[in-house]
């Protein structure tokens, strides 16, 4: 995983995104480890063009798909799809057009915090937003994360940290 470089690449192309998933959890204070980076991206034509351009030089391919499966992460492909789980030279990157429990980019953005990371302000899904998304996903494995996030939220509310 190359978090700093990934954020820089997306920022430089002015991609509209919110960092979500395990990385957002850790940035909010969680102690859980993650290997991939998840993003919610805006589905406007302009942003889709920017996203395709940003990742062009990083060999985006579908994760867990046969190597010889033809795939091009270009604006047309992004327009036709919604959620993409990619393997790139920057690591495993997931781009979601919608997040369960929250909705599309605008709803996710409304549930995000601005956070200075490596000198640049980025949008990171809030603890409440992460809880909503995990609850909506309804997976048994998310219960640990939900308990931790609720505890974290409680600690931050009580201390004002």
């Amino acid at each position: 995983m190359k978090l700093e470089e990934t954020l820089r690449v997306l920022y430089d192309e002015r991609v509209e995104f919110v960092l979500i998933g395990g990385a957002a959890m850790q940035l909010q204070g969680s102690a859980r480890l993650t290997e991939d980076l998840d993003f919610c991206y805006a589905r406007s034509r302009k942003n889709i063009d920017r996203l395709a351009r940003a990742l062009k030089g990083y060999r985006p391919r579908l994760r867990n798909a046969p190597e010889d499966l033809p795939f091009r992460f270009d604006a047309e492909t992004i327009q036709r799809g919604l959620n993409f789980t990619l393997l790139t030279d920057l690591g495993a990157l997931d781009f979601l057009g919608e997040v369960s429990g929250l909705g599309g980019y605008e709803a996710v953005k409304a549930a995000a915090d601005k956070m200075p990371i490596y000198g640049i302000e980025h949008l990171v899904l809030s603890i409440s937003g992460l809880i909503k998304a995990k609850q909506a996903a309804g997976r048994e494995k998310d219960m640990d994360a939900i308990k931790e996030l609720r505890g974290l939220l409680d600690l931050r509310k009580k201390t004002g940290i």
Binding site: A31, D154, L155
Partner: protein, 75 residues
């Protein structure tokens, strides 16, 4: 280090994780097995320090996974 955290906040957070109020979400998390001291340690860090920790953790996880695959292949 998160320099926005005051000494009072640090003291209060330490008290809360050591002895979470009965019936609180913190107490529930502790009972579930969440290590509250790790959360406190993370909250002491700035977002960039957490990001660095995230990248280091991901690297370690990847190395462990790779070592496991190699070990299984050789055994």
């Amino acid at each position: 280090m998160n320099r926005n955290m005051t000494r009072e906040q640090r003291k209060l957070a330490y008290e809360l994780i050591t002895n979470p109020p009965h019936g609180s979400k913190l107490a529930e998390a502790k009972e579930w097995g969440v290590d509250l001291t790790l959360l406190f340690e993370n909250l002491k860090l700035t977002p960039t320090e957490r990001a660095l920790k995230l990248e280091q953790g991901a690297r370690a996880l990847h190395e462990l996974r790779t070592a496991g695959v190699k070990h299984r292949a050789n055994s």
